[in-house]
């Protein structure tokens, strides 16, 4: 079964103070679909004044919103989840069109997971309680959580609605107003969501501004009217946002990507069974979402005594991937999100080969026929080499995995940790000791054990090292959006006696 490109309006606005408004300066940018490079629609090219208007709306709304009962706030979050779920197919189509990922992914992963994150935080805020400690007979320490106020959020283009749904619910549940800027490559699903939920929150609580990083992102990240900034992206912009935050002494959370190792110990091949089949799939998951995942398992580490037999099956499974029209339900790998990504990936394939990496499969751009001839497609690629090569050290953000051998546990851990980043990792084994000890030795915030690429709400996600800090998709994220008010209460009628 195949779908068609969804219908869009010609132009869209920013969502500020509960309604859609055109950009004050009247400038727009064209957003194109990476599937066929066709025009989707025009979106606001916002400037400082648009950001200021959104921040003013948020600051005006924050007092009342912070005092809204958690019952009401949770109820609104649940409404958003219901609306996403009720319009699943429409959201999935828009997301596929805007990002280039296959429709089976958006139908089965991006959109249903998005709804679940809204529900998860609606539950968290209802279930949690503050703390009270009796410090002595007459003294009570009471901890009340208070919202920060106004939060700025800047999200990426690889999972547009899902990243929005990781960022917004914990901030809104805890009583903050938000100004969010979607990535300029993928403004569509955030806009569709605002159309559907325009009346759910009071005006000013949730504001969406579109535009470019230097023109709209920077004023948002550096504004003194923001109390916290949350960012997902790359390291240079991460540093810039931290610098801006330092001027305002604001907290930040950062998710800055990785170069995640996926480690296969020899016991995975002890039997040719369902688990081995799962492990082979686990190795091929590098191609999931065209490799445009912060935790893409882009370094494949295989124990040397099973290397040849294991890789034979991994290559065979990779070659069986269906790369075709993203609107077709059978398609497994779609288009890269933009031309510059497409060019960058090809540049990495070249330097990988120059450095001596051997191409086990793929290695080129993929040329599709028909409407897709103008789209941005890369063949799922396996490069064999060693961990000091640049393709083993840099996030390519394409369907490209680099494979190397290791001798024993010690070498596996050394290679796994020889990276600037520490976001994700995978460990595959039938040995119960390895299943605990190896993950504990890996410097990464998320280690998948005998699985990969699961992102359920209720399991914290975040990085070590240059991958950033903060833990999303879990109730611990709520404290990244809050102050702690400590009330220290004396029930003693007697004076101190000092004066």
């Amino acid at each position: 079964m195949s779908y068609n490109k969804p219908i869009f309006k010609d132009t869209y606005g920013n969502f500020i103070n509960g309604k859609f408004v055109p950009p004050i300066g009247g400038q727009y940018f064209e957003n194109r679909s990476p599937i066929d490079n066709s025009l989707i629609a025009k979106y606001p090219r916002s400037q400082q004044e648009d950001v200021d208007a959104a921040l003013e709306a948020a600051n005006t709304a924050k007092k009342a919103w912070g005092n809204t009962s958690v019952t009401e706030r949770a109820s609104m979050l649940n409404k958003v989840a219901d609306i996403i779920e009720a319009n699943l197919e429409e959201f999935a189509l828009v997301e596929t069109c805007d990002n280039g990922k296959p429709i089976r992914e958006t139908l089965n992963a991006d959109i249903p997971l998005s709804a679940d994150h809204w529900r998860y935080f609606a539950s968290c805020i209802r279930a949690e309680e503050g703390t009270a400690s009796e410090l002595d007979q007459n003294t009570l320490s009471l901890n009340i959580k208070e919202p920060l106020g106004v939060v700025g959020q800047i999200i990426p283009w690889n999972f547009p609605l899902l990243m929005l749904s990781w960022k917004l619910p914990p901030a809104l549940a805890t009583g903050n107003c938000v100004v969010l800027k979607p990535a300029e490559q993928t403004p569509s699903s955030a806009t569709l969501l605002m159309e559907k939920i325009a009346d759910v929150f009071p005006p000013g609580v949730l504001n969406i501004i579109h535009g470019f990083g230097p023109e709209a992102g920077k004023p948002l990240a550096s504004s003194a009217k923001v109390d916290k900034v949350a960012f997902t992206g790359e390291t240079t912009t991460g540093q810039l946002i931290m610098q801006y935050a330092s001027k305002n002494l604001n907290p930040v959370t950062m998710e800055l990507g990785g170069k995640s190792p996926n480690i296969f110990f020899n016991s995975v091949m002890d039997q040719d069974d369902a688990f081995l089949d799962k492990a082979i799939e686990g190795a091929v998951l590098f191609a999931f979402n065209q490799g445009e995942v912060c935790t893409c398992p882009s370094r494949l580490l295989v124990q040397e005594d099973i290397y040849d037999a294991f890789m034979e099956r991994v290559v065979k499974r990779t070659k069986a991937i269906i790369q075709d029209n993203p609107y077709d339900l059978n398609t497994m790998v779609g288009a890269q999100a933009s031309n510059d990504q497409y060019e960058k990936i090809q540049s990495y394939l070249k330097i990988g080969i120059d450095e001596g990496a051997k191409v086990l499969c793929g290695g080129n751009a993929a040329k599709l026929d028909g409407d897709q001839a103008n789209g941005f497609y890369i063949q799922p690629t396996i490069l064999e080499g060693h961990n000091k090569m640049r393709v083993f050290q840099e996030e390519i953000f394409g369907p490209v995995v680099c494979v190397t051998k290791f001798k024993d546990e010690e070498e596996a851990i050394a290679i796994a940790n020889d990276t600037l980043y520490g976001l994700g990792a995978g460990v595959w084994s039938r040995d119960a000791h390895q299943l605990y000890q190896i993950p504990r030795a890996i410097e990464a915030g998320r280690v998948w054990v005998n699985c990969y690429h699961a992102y359920p709400a209720h399991a914290p996600f975040g990085g070590y090292k240059k991958s950033g800090f903060g833990r999303e998709t879990h109730l611990m994220m709520m404290d990244h959006y809050r102050q702690n008010k400590n009330m220290l209460i004396s029930y003693d009628k007697n004076k101190l006696g000092f004066f």
Binding site: P156, T236, L256, S338, E343, K344, K350, Y421
Partner: protein
């Protein structure tokens, strides 16, 4: 000899942006999404210190990379080029509908000897 070069097309884009903002730097990004790409930034915006390596100067602009990233890149020569595309970051060319990208090649023996001696 240099570690970093720039194509004429990319240099033209730099010149165009410099008409409005004369004092710029390139900083090599790493990590997620739009990482592994050069970022063109106002020089006063980005805090540089001893942990940033100056790779060279292209189109009148200094090109920096963080030391720990440089450790993995130092055997390669970089050429900054420009392509059409919609990057998401704070890099200044993005509003033009273009994006700087890097082409890399291995340094040859002569170049390696030269840079080791430095």
């Amino acid at each position: 000899m240099n570690r970093v070069a720039i194509t004429d097309e990319a240099a033209e884009v730099v010149s165009k942006i410099r008409e409005k903002q004369p004092d710029l730097i390139f900083h090599q990004s790493g990590g997620c999404c739009d990482g592994s790409s050069p970022m063109l930034l106002p020089a006063e915006d980005f805090y540089l210190d001893n942990s940033d390596i100056l790779l060279g100067e292209i189109a009148g602009i200094k090109y920096y990379m963080n030391q720990d990233q440089f450790d993995y890149w130092k055997h390669t020569h970089l050429t900054v080029d420009i392509t059409s595309g919609r990057g998401a970051s704070f890099s200044l060319e993005i509003p033009l509908g273009m994006r700087f990208i890097i082409h890399s090649r291995l340094l040859n023996d002569k170049e390696l000897d030269f840079f080791i001696a430095q």
